[in-house]
């Protein structure tokens, strides 16, 4: 029977199997990190318009109090992660590049972990619209990495009919174990969050997709589900990038999101387990999102683990707390496949960041970036999960034919998972080329 299970187990074609390095932190319970003396809270931590500050320098704020409000529907408010004083609002570096306006918060030395702001909500009596509004008030954005405001995802345009909520518990990036721990430790909140999301989005059933390297999480959720719950747990094969929302929809439901389209168009709403667990925890209490679970791992970390980090904690403080070995020199925010290297220790943990990986500095003598010519082996074509031709795209990128790439070779379907760069035997930085092409095309269109 086991053999047939393996065959039945769902997956998508192509993709890669990088070493997952999860054993280091997968069994470590979530632990709290203390408040940093000074926190940096960027006003733009999400996809969409930056939040508008509600505070001025010198003002005292309570833990959980809103410090910035959403600028329209496509935006999310921000709450104070600790009781303290607003020091300043100024430009601070971010992991992605340009400096952004950030609120500098000085935490009171004796600030308590109790959340002092928020009014309880009777979630069961709220209508779908009220639920969506309540979700926006929590400042919730996709905690899986994209940072798309959750209330926007839950608002189904009237012209689309949705029937299924897909809950993404794949966590396919190496090192990261935050979703795994949340599914194990916050199972009840997760299920509550799923029920809320079902009502808010008007979907009838939910499917939780979990990779088969997390059998304990699958077990834990199945145990807590009541028979009348319209929620199913579906085991999927461990493979990168299983956690991509469009691939997961195809794997679980056999529906393909059209090129350039959204999950709505095939009747699906997708949310990450971390996001839904936070909704299940915060919404009944009427609180805002002020901390999140971050996996801090990598060969150079002294105390790797899953930490509950107040949003706005600078990396410098985290490194002081978890310790590091002498070779540490390369920090990555997010997972190693799709995350970004950091150039400043003032960069804070923001809402979409699920991991901090500390790697040794590459010595100047190895040649990690020596690029050889393309030998047309087709390995990248076999790896691309959305069936593009990275080799051809790479050749076009080298000639800067960015429009041809988008029009004829579907560049915009690339979600930058990095499989092509990972497998390329010639070390060609394919996904980096594609990012350049996409950024140039975006600017030309603007």
């Amino acid at each position: 029977m086991g053999f047939f299970n393996f065959i039945r187990r769902k997956s998508f074609s192509h993709g890669i199997h990088p070493p997952d390095y999860k054993e280091e932190t997968a069994h470590k319970p979530i632990r709290r990190l203390p408040f940093a003396p000074e926190m940096v809270i960027p006003l733009s931590q999400h996809f969409g318009a930056a939040a508008i500050p509600l505070v001025r320098p010198g003002q005292e704020v309570l833990r959980g109090e809103p410090v910035a409000r959403a600028d329209g529907f496509m935006s999310a408010p921000i709450h104070a992660p600790a009781t303290g004083t607003i020091e300043d609002i100024r430009l601070m570096p971010t992991a992605r590049g340009p400096k952004v306006e950030s609120i500098i918060l000085k935490a009171h030395p004796g600030a308590s972990q109790r959340v002092l702001y928020g009014a309880e909500l009777d979630v069961d009596t709220l209508s779908a619209e009220e639920l969506v509004k309540a979700v926006q008030d929590t400042g919730m954005v996709g905690l899986g990495g994209a940072g798309f405001p959750t209330h926007v995802k839950l608002t189904v345009p009237p012209e689309h009919r949705v029937d299924t909520l897909v809950v993404n518990g794949c966590e396919c990036e190496p090192y990261l174990t935050t979703d795994h721990r949340i599914m194990l430790e916050h199972t009840d909140e997760l299920i509550r969050g799923i029920r809320i999301a079902l009502r808010a989005s008007g979907t009838r059933q939910a499917v939780i997709g979990i990779e088969d390297n997390k059998p304990d999480a699958i077990e834990a959720i199945r145990e807590r589900l009541k028979p009348e719950d319209p929620i199913a747990v579906q085991e999927v094969r461990t493979k990168y990038p299983q956690g991509s929302e469009k691939l997961l929809i195809t794997v679980l439901l056999g529906r393909e999101v059209p090129s350039g389209g959204l999950p709505f168009q095939v009747g699906v709403v997708v949310n990450n387990v971390g996001t839904l667990a936070e909704i299940g925890r915060l919404l009944p209490k009427g609180e805002g999102l002020i901390e999140r679970v971050v996996t801090i791992a990598g060969p150079e970390v002294k105390k790797p683990g899953n930490y509950l980090v107040p949003l706005g904690t600078p990396l410098r403080f985290i490194l002081e707390q978890v310790g590091y070995f002498g070779d540490a020199g390369h920090l990555i925010l997010g997972g190693p496949m799709m995350g970004t290297s950091v150039a400043s220790l003032d960069v804070p943990i923001t809402k979409p960041i699920s991991g901090l990986i500390v790697l040794p500095e590459e010595s100047a003598n190895d040649h990690p970036d020596r690029v050889y010519p393309c030998i047309r082996c087709g390995t990248c074509v076999d790896a691309c999960p959305v069936h593009l031709n990275p080799s051809r795209l790479g050749q076009l990128a080298a000639r800067r034919r960015y429009e041809t790439m988008a029009v004829e070779f579907h560049l915009n379907d690339c979600f930058e998972c990095g499989c092509c760069s990972y497998v390329c035997p010639s070390n060609i930085p394919l996904v980096q080329y594609f990012r350049i092409a996409k950024s140039v095309n975006r600017e030309r269109a603007a």
Partner: protein, 298 residues
């Protein structure tokens, strides 16, 4: 005998078919012929055929059509020498138009000898790629990354990287096509009329001391140039001096005189960018050492 017959039939048939199709083509040629101004090809020949788009048309042939239609002036072609444009004007019997020489200008002077790097970037050698990874390794988030995307994209060889890793525009070769403006991820290039002599070679919006910690030629927002100039010529926006070129007639070298860092310059045809007398003199030639942020002490 029969085989000769067969060959003859086949030959006749093929010949007949040829004549029939040829007459179709001949008629089609008459009926469907597009009347084209015979001068179009001549003008196109006189144009550089670089198809750079600097004139505002998609390419040289559309520009030639615009010239014939009278909706463009020959001087709009910035690639051709003036004499050739004059020849086109004479050929068509129209006015040359005002030659409007424009060039690409770089709003950064932070080469490796004056600007610090805060992290080592080791990826693909492209400014575009570097800028999405924490904005590249440069201390100043707004500054030139020096990985030469503009040099690579320039079709006219008008941009060369200098010894400090800054692009230098050859004013004579630059056709103001705007390719460098598009490719620069920090948006440091802009195409300016050559009459714009006063220039702010900086885009840093940091507070004064923070900006100066990363670069010696930063605009620290002191406001001296603004105070010394005629009213309204130079505004201070987010710690950065911004020149209102609508009032270009009012510009003079007075504005650069008291600049402490030399971020505001006077662009001279012969001497290049001239800094004011009070500007910090940088004699250093070698790059500054890397100043990678140290990890916290445990």
């Amino acid at each position: 005998m029969a085989s000769v017959m067969h060959i003859a039939i086949a030959g006749t048939f093929m010949a007949g078919l040829g004549v029939a199709l040829a007459s179709v083509l001949a008629i089609a040629n008459r009926r469907l012929q597009v009347e084209e101004d015979p001068r179009l090809d001549d003008i196109e020949e006189m144009l550089p055929n670089a198809n750079c788009g600097a004139c505002g048309n998609p390419g040289c042939r559309p520009f030639a059509e615009a010239l014939l239609a009278g909706t463009a002036e020959p001087a709009k072609c910035t690639v051709n020498p003036v004499e050739v444009n004059q020849a086109i004007a004479d050929f068509l019997g129209i006015d040359l138009g005002t030659p409007d020489k424009r060039v690409a200008r770089l709003a950064c002077a932070g080469g490796s000898h004056v600007a610090y790097t805060r992290a080592r970037y080791r990826g693909l050698k492209s400014c575009r790629a570097a800028s999405v990874v924490s904005g590249g390794g440069k201390g100043c988030s707004w500054g030139c990354l020096g990985l030469a995307d503009c040099e690579a994209v320039c079709d006219f060889d008008a941009i060369q990287m200098d010894q400090h890793g800054l692009p230098v525009v050859d004013v004579d070769k630059c056709t103001a096509c705007g390719d460098c403006v598009d490719i620069c991820p920090k948006e440091l290039f802009s195409v300016e009329p050559i009459s714009h002599r006063l220039w702010i070679a900086c885009k840093n919006r940091d507070m004064a001391d923070e900006g100066e910690a990363h670069c010696e030629v930063v605009c620290n927002g002191c406001g001296r140039c603004s105070a010394d100039s005629p009213e309204g010529l130079i505004a201070m926006e987010d710690n950065l001096a911004v020149i209102d070129y609508e009032k270009n007639d009012l510009t003079s070298k007075v504005a650069i005189e008291r600049c402490p860092t030399g971020a505001i310059v006077w662009l001279d045809d012969v001497k290049g960018a001239i800094k004011g007398a009070k500007a910090r003199r940088v004699t250093r030639k070698q790059p500054l050492p890397e100043r990678v942020e140290p990890l916290p002490r445990l």
